[in-house]
C-alpha cells in the first residue's frame, strides 16, 4: 500500500497544479505605456500636461532632418558623412540624381520633413480633443491649450508644404484611416494662416495671465498667454510672407515680439537638455577628429562680406579640414558651425532677426524702400558691415534682403535659403560648383502616401 500512497500523492500534486487552471490566461495590458484611450475623455490635468509637453516634443521632430537636408539642398551647409556616402551623392544630387518617392534620408514616409511634422499636427489634435472632453479645465485654460495646439499646427503644416511645394499636401488629416485630398501650396498656406488666426482667437479668449500649463525652457520669456500670442503672430508673419501677403506680414509683425532695437536672438526655441532628453543634434566639438559633421558650404564663405560679424560668430575654422571623397569629387569642409556653445544649447525656431528681415521684405514688396532699408540697416549694423548704400529699386532690395537672410538665418532648422530662392525663382543662384551636384526644386509625395491611396482604392 506504500506504493499506492505515493501514486495518490503524485496524483494529488497534479490536481493541485491543475487547480490553477492552466488554460486560463490573464489579461495583459501594455506593461510599458499608457494607452491612447486613457486620454480621449475625462483626461486629468496631469494627462493634459503630458500631452502638451508631448506636443513640444513632436514640435521639434523635424529639426535634425530639415537642418541637415534642406540646408544642404540650399547649399548653406554640407552634411559630410564618411560612413554613408549617400549623404553626399544623393543629397547633393550628384551624377544627376533627383529625389524619388523613397529618397535616401526620407524613406517611404518622408521622415523628418513629412512624417514628423504631421505627427506634431496629430499630437495637437489629440491634445485639443482631450482638452475639450474633460471638465477639469476652465474655459480660459481650454482656450489657451487650443491656441497653443493650433499655433504649432500652423507652424508644422509649413514644413511638408515647403518640402513638396507644387505637389501640395493634405490638410484634412484628423481621421487616421480617412485622410483628405492633396491641396496645392497656396491652399495649404491659407490653411496655415487660418490655423494661426484660430490660435489668435483662442488666445484672445484665454485671458492675459500666465499660460496655465508648464512649458519647457524653450519658451523662456514667452510664458504668458500674451507672449505666446506674440510668437503666434511671428509665425503668421512668416506664413504671410510665403503667401505674398505683404500687408499681412506687417500686420502680424505688429502683434509679434519683433523689436527693431532689441536682441536679434530673442525668440522661442526647441530645448535640448541632454538625457533623458536628446542632445542638440547640430552641435559638434570644435576641431574634433571626426568625419561626420555639418560644415559651412564653401559658397557661403566665398560670398561673405569682409568683416561680417555673423561669419566670425557662426563659422569656426578648423585646424584640419574634413575631407570626404565621393564618386564625383572630393568635398573639403574648412569651417564648422560655431553657433552652439554646448551640446545642450537650445535651437531657436523663430527669432527677432528674422522678423526684422520679414519687415524689410514686406516693405520692399510694398514699394516702401525707406522702411525696407531702415530694417535692413538694423541687420547690417548688427553684423558690423555698415548701412546699406546700394540701389533701392525693388529687385535690388530683394537681392539685398535675400543676401542678408542667407547670413542672418544661416543653417537655421528651416532651410531658409532653399525656400527663399524658390520663392523668388532664383534656385539657379545656388552654387553647385563645389560639389558637381543638382539643385532640387521640391520632393514628390512620399511613397507611403501613394500606397495609402492605392490601398483604399483597391
Amino acid at each position: 500500500m506504500k506504493n499506492t500512497n505515493k501514486i495518490l500523492g503524485a496524483l494529488a500534486m497534479s490536481a493541485l497544479i491543475l487547480g490553477c487552471n492552466p488554460l486560463q490566461l490573464d489579461t495583459i495590458d501594455d506593461p510599458n505605456n499608457p494607452s491612447i484611450e486613457s486620454v480621449s475623455s475625462n483626461a486629468s490635468r496631469e494627462q493634459i500636461q503630458f500631452l502638451l509637453t508631448g506636443l513640444e516634443f513632436r514640435h521639434r521632430g523635424y529639426v535634425t532632418n530639415v537642418s541637415q537636408a534642406w540646408n544642404t539642398f540650399g547649399r548653406e551647409v554640407w552634411y559630410l558623412n564618411a560612413s554613408d556616402p549617400r549623404f553626399q551623392t544623393d543629397w547633393l544630387g550628384q551624377a544627376g540624381r533627383t529625389p524619388d518617392r523613397s529618397y535616401f534620408g526620407f524613406g517611404n514616409t518622408g521622415a523628418g520633413s513629412w512624417a514628423a511634422p504631421y505627427q506634431a499636427i496629430n499630437q495637437a489634435n489629440v491634445l485639443v480633443t482631450a482638452a475639450g472632453n474633460t471638465n477639469v479645465l476652465s474655459p480660459e485654460e481650454t482656450s489657451a491649450v487650443t491656441g497653443f495646439a493650433r499655433m504649432i499646427q500652423g507652424y508644422q503644416f509649413m514644413i511638408p508644404a515647403n518640402f513638396v511645394y507644387d505637389n501640395g499636401i493634405r490638410i484634412d488629416v484628423t481621421a487616421p484611416l480617412n485622410p483628405g485630398p492633396f491641396v496645392n501650396y497656396d491652399v495649404a498656406l491659407d490653411h496655415v494662416a487660418n490655423l494661426l488666426e484660430q490660435a489668435e482667437s483662442s488666445f484672445a479668449a484665454a485671458g492675459a495671465g500666465e499660460f496655465p500649463f508648464t512649458l519647457t525652457s524653450g519658451f523662456a520669456g514667452f510664458t504668458s498667454v500674451p507672449a505666446i500670442r506674440q510668437v503666434n503672430q511671428a509665425i503668421l508673419a512668416r506664413a504671410n510672407a510665403y503667401r505674398n501677403n505683404w500687408q499681412g506680414v506687417l500686420t502680424a509683425l505688429e502683434g509679434s515680439f519683433m523689436n527693431m532695437s532689441g536682441n536679434l536672438q530673442a525668440g522661442p526655441a526647441h530645448p535640448f537638455t541632454g538625457p533623458p532628453d536628446a542632445f542638440n543634434p547640430l552641435y559638434y566639438v570644435p576641431d574634433a577628429a571626426v568625419n561626420t559633421i555639418i560644415v559651412v558650404h564653401p559658397s557661403v564663405l566665398a560670398d561673405a562680406t569682409p568683416g561680417d560679424l555673423r561669419v566670425a560668430n557662426k563659422f569656426f575654422e578648423r585646424e584640419i579640414p574634413v575631407t570626404i571623397t565621393t564618386d564625383a569629387t572630393p568635398l573639403v569642409g574648412t569651417h564648422q558651425d560655431a553657433r552652439w556653445p554646448t551640446n545642450t544649447a537650445p535651437i531657436p525656431f523663430i527669432r527677432n532677426e528674422e522678423l526684422i528681415l520679414l519687415k524689410a521684405e514686406a516693405h520692399a514688396n510694398l514699394s516702401q524702400p525707406e522702411l525696407a532699408v531702415e530694417a535692413i540697416n538694423v541687420i547690417r549694423n548688427a553684423a558690423g558691415i555698415g548701412a546699406y548704400t546700394g540701389p533701392t529699386d525693388q529687385a535690388s532690395l530683394i537681392s539685398e534682403i535675400l543676401y542678408q537672410r542667407r547670413y542672418s538665418l544661416w543653417a537655421e532648422p528651416w532651410g531658409h535659403r532653399w525656400i527663399d530662392t524658390r520663392r523668388y525663382d532664383r534656385l539657379d543662384e545656388i552654387s553647385t560648383a563645389f560639389d558637381q551636384g543638382t539643385i532640387f526644386r521640391q520632393f514628390p509625395h512620399p511613397q507611403a502616401e501613394l500606397n495609402w491611396d492605392q490601398y483604399v482604392g483597391n
Binding site: 496524483l11 506593461p31 513640444e56 542632445f279 577628429a289
Partner: protein, 988 residues
Amino acid sequence: MREIYKLFSAMVLFLLTTGGVWAQYTVTGSVVDERTGEPLIGANILIRNTTQGTVTDIDGNFSLNVSTNEDVSLAISSLGYLSQNFTVSPTNTTLNVRLREDATNLEEVVITGLASNVKRSNLANAVSSVSARELTGTTTIQTTDGALYGKVAGATIRSNGGAPGGGMSIQLRGISSLTGASQPLIIVDGVYINNSFQRTGRATVSGAGASNQDDGANRLADLNPNDIESIEVLKGPSAAAIYGTRANAGVIIITTKRGAEGRTRVSFSQDVGFATPLRLLGVDDWSEDKINFFFPEARRPIELERFRQGVRIDYEDYFYNNTALLTNTRLNVSGGTDKTKFFISGNITNEDGTVRNTGFERYSIRANIDHKITNSIKLGVSSNYIKSDTDRGFTGNQNNSGASIGYSIAYVPNYFDLRPDANGIYPVNPYFSENPVAVTDHAVNNSDVNRFIQAFTLDIDLFKTSRSFLKAQVAGGVDFLQNTTLVYLPEFLQFQRGQANPGDALWGKQESLNTNFQAALVYNWNLGRVNMNSQAGLVRLDFKNDALFNRGRGLAPGQRNLQQASVQEINQQFFSEVQEAGVFLQQEANFDDKIIGTVGIRWDKSTLNGDPNLFYAFPRASLAVNLTNFDFWNPTVVSQLKPRIAYGETAGPVAFGNTFTPLEGANIGGLLGSVVSPQIGNRQIRPETAQELEFGLDANFFNNRIGFEATYYIKNTQNNIQNLNLAPSTGVIITPSNEAELQNKGIELALFGTVVDKANFRWFSRVLYWQNRVNLTRLGIPTYTAGAFGSALGTFLYAEGYAPTTIVGTPADPSIPGGFTVWGNAQPDFNMSFYNSFNIARNFELSFLVDWRQGGDNINLTSFLTDGGGTTRGWFNDDTGDGIPNGRQRPPAPYNNAGRWVQDASFVKVREVGLFYTVPKATVSQAFGGAIENIRVGTSANNLFLFTKYEGYDPETSTFGAQAVANNVDIAPYPTPRRIFFHLTVDF
C-alpha cells in the same frame, strides 16, 4: 476533477491486485552483432502486440516466459540495429539472433507528438534526426546550430559572421513569416527555450542603428553540443501541427544524454585547437599616381609625404589574421541501477577569436536523473546551469563612431601606421573617425549569460493489461536566462575625444523566464490487428522578458561604472509578458506495421492575438504504407518501400505589442511628455497560419543497406503579418495587418547507406539535396521595397508573384512592380551535402562533411566601403582602359546602380573533417591495467576549406542577424575562422 482521480486510483489498485502471470513455456537465447559477433547488452525481446518482454544481460543472453501454449512472434531489437521478428513455440524455445547495424536508421525512434513517438520505418513525415555521433562526432563545433550544417535536408543554416560565441539562423523549408526571424521553435528535453538574439547595445554605441545590427549571439549558443543525444527536426506544419501556434517555422527537438543501467562510466575529453581566418581578401597597394588620383589637390602633399615614409601595413592581416587558441574540456559521469540512472556532465569551452580581445567561454554543468519511484511511476529530471561569457569585438556596420574594424580600415591606406607609438599613444586616424587599433585594444563588447534550464517529466503507468496500457505524462520546465551586457568605448578614443561627453558605456541587464507545463494521457490498445495509440493533453506556456539598458557618457578616465559618467541615461526599459494555452488530441493507428495513420488536432490561444480568448484549431493527418511488410511483397532488391503523405496546420505568433496603441513617454527640456505612437494597434490581429501538404517515398535497398528518401512539400501561409503603411500625413505610420500570403514549395532528397561493410572496413555515405522556392502569392497591400539600405544599394521587393527574397535596386525599371531593376535573389537554387565516414581496421575512423550551396545572392556592401576608401584589392587597375580605375567603375554599366553590389554567394565548404584512433583495448589494459577502459585520440577541422567566387570573407554573412528577409547583407563582418583540433578522450 476529483472523480477522475478516484477512478484513476481505483484502476491502479486493480492493476496491483491482478499482476499474476500464467507462464506456460520459456524461450532462451542470445543476441549478438552480426558483423563483429560481440554480444549485445540490453537488447529488447518483446512478444508482439503485447506489453510483455525482457532484455538481454551483460553476455547478450535472455530468458523469457511466454504465457500461452501457442506460437508467438518475438520482436528482437537493439538501439542502432535493425530489429527482427521470430516465431517461437513450445517446441522451438531456443533463439540465437544476429542483428545487423541499422545503416539506414529504420529503427530510430522519432518524436512525433507531444506525448508519443514512432520508429522511423513507420514515420509518415520527413523528420530529420541528427544523432550525437553525427552532431559532434567529427569535430568540435562551438554551438549546436553550427553543428547542424549539412545534416538536415531542408534547413538553410546561415552564420551571421565569424565572431566567437554563435550567431546563427535556421530557416526550415523557406520563409514562413515576413516579419521577425522565422526561426524554428526549439525545445530541449521538453523545455521551450529562449533562442532569441538579445540586444547587446553595440549598434547603439557604434551608431549602426537598431539592435538587429548588434551581431549578438542567439542563445542556443549556451547549450553544450556534447550534452546532446539527438536532435529531431520537424520541418513544417505537416509534422509539427501538434505544436500549434509557434510551429510555423518548424520545431527542433533536442534530447540530451541520459544515464544507462550498468557500471558507472567516467569519460574525460580534452580538445585543443587553433583558429585562423578561413579567407582573407588582401588590401590594395598605393602608388603616387593613385594618391594623386584619389585625394583632392590640397590633401596630396601630406599623403605623398606619408606614402614616401615607406611603412606598409596590411590591415586585414593585422586585425584578422591572428591564431586563436581553442580549448574544450569535458567530463561525463553516467551510470545507474534499475531504479536510478544518472548522467552528469561538465564542460568548459574556452575559445579565443581571431580578432584580438575576442572570445567565447562557456561553463556548463548538467545533471540528468531518472528515478523509478515505483514500478509504475518514473520521474525524470534534467538540470543544466550555464555561464557563457562572450567578447565579440567591433565589426560590422557603424555610423560616425568608427567602432568597427572592417568599416574603419576600408578607408585607411596601407602606408599609414595606426599602431600606437612607443609611449602607447594611438595616432589620430586621418581617414576615418576612429583608430581601430585603439578600439580593438581597449573597447569592450561583452555579454555575460547566467542561465538555468530545468526540466522534469513524470510518467505514470495508470494501468497495463497484456494488450493495452494507459499512461499519464506530466512534464514541464523552466528556462531562466540572465544576460548582462556591456559595450564600452573609453574616453581617450579618437571619436570619443571628438564628443562633448567622451567615453561611452552602455550596460544592459536582461532577464527572460520561460515556463511550460504539459499533461497528457496516452492510451495504447489493440483493435484486432491494429495497434491504437490515443493521446489527449493540455499545454501551458508563459514567457516573460525584462530588459533594462543604462548608458553613461562623459566617463571618468578608465571607468565603466555608470556613476562615473557625467551624463547618465536610462536607454531602454522594456517588459513583455505572453501567456498561451493549448489542448491536443491525437490518434495513431498501426496496422501490423503495414499501414500507419495518424490524425490529431491542437487548439491554441494566446495573449498576443487580437482576441486572446479565441482558440485556433490546428489539425493534422498522415498516412504511411509499408508496402514491403505486406505478404505479397517479395523482398529482393527493394527491402523497404514506403509511400507516405502528411498534412498539417500551424501558426506563427503575433509579435508582442501589435495590439497596443500606446502613448509613448518622451522627454524634453526636463519635462516628460506623452506622445501619440506612430503605430496604431490592431485589435483584430490573428496569428500567421500555415498549411502544409507533404508527400514522399522512403525506400531501402539490398537488405536495408542503402536508403533513399524523397519528399515534396507545399507550404502555404496566410494572414502573414506585415505593417500596413498608413498615410503618414495622418500622423501615424503603420498598423500591423494580416494581409499577405506566402507559398513555399520544395524537394528534399536523401541517399545514404553502407557502401562497404566488412569486418575491418566500413564506409557509410550520405548525400542530401534540397531546394525551396518561395513566392508571395498575395500581398494585400501596395507593392513596397524594404530591407538593407534602400534602392541605391540593393533592397528587397515585396510584390505579388515575386519571392520576397528578390533583390532590387536602381536604376528604375517601370516594367517591374515597385519600379526598380531586379538584380538577384537571396534564395539558393539548391543545397547539397556529402557526408562520409570510414571505419578502418576497427581502430581508425575518418569522416568528413562537405556542404554546397548553389545560387543565392548577397548584397556585398563591404566591397562598397573598400571601393569608397580605395582599399579594395585591384582598385587602381583599369580593366576597361578608359582611365577610370576599377574601384570607381564596378560593372554593370553605367557603373552607378545597385547591381554593382549584388553578388552570387554560391559556395562549397568542407565543413567538418575528423580522424580518430581508438587505442586497442589490449594495449590500454597492458599499459594502465584496469584503471582505464578506453583511449581515443584524434584530429579534426571545422571549415577547413571554402571554394567560392564571392568577393567577401564568407558568402555566409548577415549584418542584420537572423531575419526572414535581408539576412544576406555583407558589411565588414568578422571573418569566419578555420578551426583545427586535436582530441583526447579517456574512459574510465
